[in-house]
Symmetry: C2
Subunit: 344 residues, 2 copies
DNA sequence: TAGAACTATGATAGCGCTAACATGATAGCG
DNA sequence: CGCTATCATGTTAGCGCTATCATAGTTCTA
């Protein structure tokens, strides 16, 4: 059986949507002129541009960005990779990135690693496959293969959240120093038996860095630095459990340095339920500077990091680089601020 | 000055990355076989597949998804459009969507409208331009042009959060009924002078629907339904301000029905700072069932909606549709649950 | 054992757009 | 006035992949 119509050429129909060619025909110009009218208006006569825009409306044209990206070998995608969406901290960074990038016509591709650097690697591959314009990832730890990809992809790579030996661009803060800062504060307040409570420090290794700073200061002061590690990531429940575990394991503890505000707030609220006097019976400190902590009674002592700003700064640096400007300061320390409440 | 080598054809270099063709050459097969080895393994001999995969590793091939999408006229993108990233509610829905879609190899394209349906329209255009496989948007309200795009794009369109006259698929809950439910609860508890406090009800119109339900029940009971509208969206600060405004404007109010838990928790915490007895002096109720409310003392009475589940269900329905299966039940009510705490 | 059905692979032609080069018209300059 | 510079537009050839059709070999069926 032969083809019913051998003269008919092979058929393939894409999206059935109107294409630039049709717009061009409707406007009486070539398709490249239509393309320019949309993407580089200054290169086209005012009159012509108007005609093209009218034609766009008339035929209901929606640009095929996939085709455009393939042809130009670049997309207006920015890959953003974070370890978790459950943690408000990352959401705020994303918000800063998003606001800045969207205003410049970039679209964010969001990836979630669940604190797994293998998944990070997979996400990086995928996003590179989308010809993203730049990559933003939370943290400095990657698999060797992922490192390799990032180093050789020839796109701006931004590592946010922490400072250190970065691949390319880096906006963040010094977590070890933040840990030291809070430990010093607690010692200054006169507390001596201080327990650090973290959750999954292997995953949330930045909290691990803060603990390192904490321990450093404690040991320099000739004090021990006991650690309790919870097995669930930051949540109010986990914080409540943490308080119980400290009271159980270290009945004479005077203060608890929590790895983050979720845990600390959970402990504070739990302490309240138990009728515990904070900070007289036990002092509580956190990290992040979430709004919640500042609305509790007593207000939570914590360290505030400028997360949305961090996102904005990261985005701005990347945009500068994408505009062809050399970025001189590749590393940017956004710092942090000790907020002293009544909980310590 | 002529070209240095006129015989050389026009040059254009894409990403300088290895392509499928190179992989194919390295594996000694045609590029289409290499393509199949990666995308339809069952259509290729076991041996051949292995050789291709080795070649992929050898040359460091990263698939160009843009080219693939153009050729196949579909991408593994799912567009997700939410009004805000500042609101934990949407984040949780996104989490549900993300977990389900990512497991199936789909990538989420996240868009944020800032509660502006014009921006929603722009985002829909952009995402359609990316040949996304499906669209998820929070809510049933769109500009007419956006409606039109969504109706004619021939892709699964999922409207989440609320139930109603949907374009295509719909997973959500009945906000009006939720408002009724809480109003009934407050009346049953014996409160009579009840103030509803919302924030930007024109934007957060779902909270407006809940107020409608609330008012309906109040009026049926022969009671008034005073409304106080704040000008900042849900936050602890706004909730504190809301409590102050109610005490100022309605000194004899017995209960406050807040539009969401952020406001309610803010009020509860503020009341605590003021030394106000809740619920004796004033009862407080919220909506959402956030973890925070359940950790406060007194526990917040609220209505819990299964947000992550909503995301998962939405994703599953879409996946079913994308797999070619007809979805019979286009509308899915995920319901809600009244959580009675000690705050009422 | 002829034919159907299936398996494994390949050749070819796009997908819809834009980079690179080309062209013709007009303006600017000494 | 000839020459270059600039502007507005067009022609052509891909970007890297996959849909479609084609082909040869193998297995199954009656």
């Amino acid at each position: 059986m032969s083809n019913q119509d051998p003269s008919r050429t092979r058929r393939r129909r894409g999206s059935a949507q109107p294409t630039l060619k049709e717009v061009a025909a409707a406007a009486g110009v070539s398709s490249i002129t239509a393309s320019r009218a949309l993407n580089a208006p200054e290169r086209v006569n005012e009159e012509t541009r108007k005609r093209v825009l009218e034609a766009v409306d008339r035929v209901g044209y929606v640009p095929n960005l996939v085709a455009g990206s393939l042809a130009s070998a670049r997309s207006r995608f920015i890959a953003v990779i974070v370890p978790s969406l459950a943690n408000a901290v990352f959401i705020e960074v994303i918000r800063g990135l998003q606001a800045t990038f969207e205003a410049q016509g970039y679209q964010i591709l969001l990836g979630n690693t669940d604190y797994d650097i293998e998944r990070e690697h997979r996400l990086v591959r995928t996003f590179l496959g989308w010809s993203c314009s730049a990559l933003v990832t939370a943290g400095l730890r990657h698999t060797p293969a992922c490192r390799d990809l990032l180093e050789h992809c020839d796109k701006p790579v931004m590592e946010v959240m922490e400072l250190g030996e970065a691949l390319d661009l880096n906006v963040g803060l010094d977590h070890r120093e933040a840990g030291r800062c809070m430990a010093r504060h607690l010692l200054e307040r006169g507390y001596r038996r201080i327990v650090y409570v973290g959750a999954c420090l292997d995953k949330d290794y930045r909290a691990g860095l803060r603990f390192d700073g904490h321990r450093e200061v404690m040991e320099a002061a000739g004090r021990e630095a006991p650690l309790i590690e919870l097995d669930r990531l930051g949540s109010l429940e986990a914080g409540a459990a943490g308080l119980d575990r400290v009271r159980d394991a270290y009945p004479d503890a005077e203060a608890i340095h929590f790895a983050n505000d979720d845990l600390a707030a959970g402990a504070l609220l739990h302490g309240f339920r138990l009728g515990l006097k904070v900070p007289d019976e036990i002092a509580i400190a956190g990290f992040n500077g979430l709004a919640l902590g500042q609305h509790l009674t007593p207000r939570l002592t914590t360290i505030k990091s400028p997360r949305e700003t961090m996102g904005r700064q990261a985005a701005e640096q990347i945009l500068r680089r994408l505009d062809g400007k050399r970025v001189t300061r590749r590393q940017c320390n956004v710092g942090f601020e000790l907020l002293v409440g009544e909980s310590t």
